[in-house]
Symmetry: C2
Subunit: 276 residues, 2 copies
């Protein structure tokens, strides 16, 4: 998917919502547990309930790997289900990978060819050759961790480097030269919304993936105010606040309501900040 | 496994060799491909051939994930095989994970409980809460990326931070306070052996995991000269130079010879630098 196609979907649905499929086998309703692949079944029902209001889904690999082979199968089934029923939806592997060149090449093949993800999150710590194999795929995306929403982001991301900027800024300054606005995005935590102004000076046109809205406490209005560009440029993720909004047999119905609420807010913000 | 137990194994085998199980389905001999789980079968034969000379094995997750569910099963079978037949061998998941606290907790459970690894490699980019869940397990280890052996290590690891040191040094200075010498190690690339002197000033007693000897070009003698401490303090990895030394039906026999050669060199270096 290109940046232009992503923007088209955002305009069509009046939404820049990504639903995080952090599907924890210990938190899903009992009725789903009867299915042979309960994590997939939960995802399928969540996807059908929320696809009208979401432009992206983001499974976090940790939740699938904890189930071993069955988790991996559930992950593949989930991606295939979205591809088949909602071909215009953007699918992100929240994997935070990063390794030496030949190993990153292997991860790229796994997540872009074996499984048909559109994008994968990556840690920048190992530098250019850990990212570049992902940039060789047409219409696929590397989403590099810049400023994350957790407390630990203060440890290294916010130190000042010899370029006179924070490390997370240095990451964006250097890495934006490795790719372009059609294959690179950045993760920026919503809890640091005011920092989006500085970030937009470095990457005015790149898409940003924003976790941390909802359960992690960031404000959607602030994110839009400081981070939106003329083609929206934002994908805002919500996981727990949508998929676990209800833990009874009504989980999908309530997830739909929650996603619709968020989409309503997003529609207003798009109207305010983005010319259609 | 404790640091003391690891040192005992090093003394017993006169070796600090880790064999990297970067088992690529496209590179393994045809005869093995007939097995239901060829990657596991290749690993089993390599392990039986080299266990006399190695104190650790390190599967790299990328090579298993590329096979999906079958790869995950091969990984679990490999770890279980080592546990059953060579209970004193240290097993490292080369996974380079790192995520927010609740997600890292899930990865820790997967790699330390579901699969019985002794250690896992981690990226430090997301800071303390991405690492600390791994440190809560008794006799398990977090191995943090400090200075890697690839070209991209120059991009961020070697920038100078506001603490007046390289980022990779800052990573060690800060993170060593998160754990101790019995649950934290660091990855340091062998291609930067002279930097081990500075690294030993920061972490004199921690174990270091050294990739990049062999196919990646580092010198074992230099690594020992600059990096060894009085309890060895080194685990040196070799992957391709051992497991792909021969690609015929003799692969295991030749892998054994190669591992024995490395162990011979290591034995001499232990004699030179470590009092027994």
């Amino acid at each position: 998917m290109t940046a232009e196609q992503l923007f088209q979907q955002i305009q069509l649905k009046r939404s820049f919502l990504c639903v995080g499929l952090d599907t924890d086998i210990n938190l899903i309703p009992k009725i789903v547990l009867e299915h042979e692949f309960p994590v997939y079944e939960f995802n399928r029902q969540i996807i059908d309930a929320t696809a009208d209001f979401a432009i992206a889904y983001k499974p976090n690999l940790a939740f699938y790997e904890m189930l071993g082979a069955a988790g991996w199968i559930s992950l593949e089934m989930t991606v295939n289900y979205i591809r088949e029923h909602y071909p215009n939806i953007f699918i992100i592997a929240d994997a935070k990978r990063g390794d030496i060149g030949n190993t990153s090449k292997m991860y790229a093949s796994t997540f872009f060819e074996k499984i048909n993800f559109d994008a994968i999150t990556l840690s920048p710590y190992m530098g250019i050759d850990s990212v570049s194999p992902f940039l060789e795929y047409r219409n696929k995306w590397a989403i590099i961790l810049a400023l994350t929403s957790n407390n630990g982001s203060a440890d290294f991301q916010q130190t000042i480097t010899d370029n006179g900027v924070h490390l997370f800024e240095d990451v964006m300054i250097k890495s934006k030269a490795w790719g372009n606005e059609n294959n690179l995005m950045y993760v920026v935590g919503a809890t640091k919304a005011e920092m989006l102004t500085k970030i937009r000076e470095i990457v005015p046109n790149h898409f940003l993936l924003i976790p941390g809205v909802g359960a992690q406490g960031g404000s959607l209005a602030d994110v839009a105010k400081y981070g939106m560009n003329k083609k929206c440029g934002l994908i805002v993720n919500s996981s727990r606040a949508i998929i676990y909004a209800d833990c009874t047999n009504d989980f999908a119905k309530v997830a739909r309501l929650k996603a619709h609420e968020v989409q309503n807010d997003m529609s207003a913000l798009l109207k305010q900040f983005v010319k259609s």
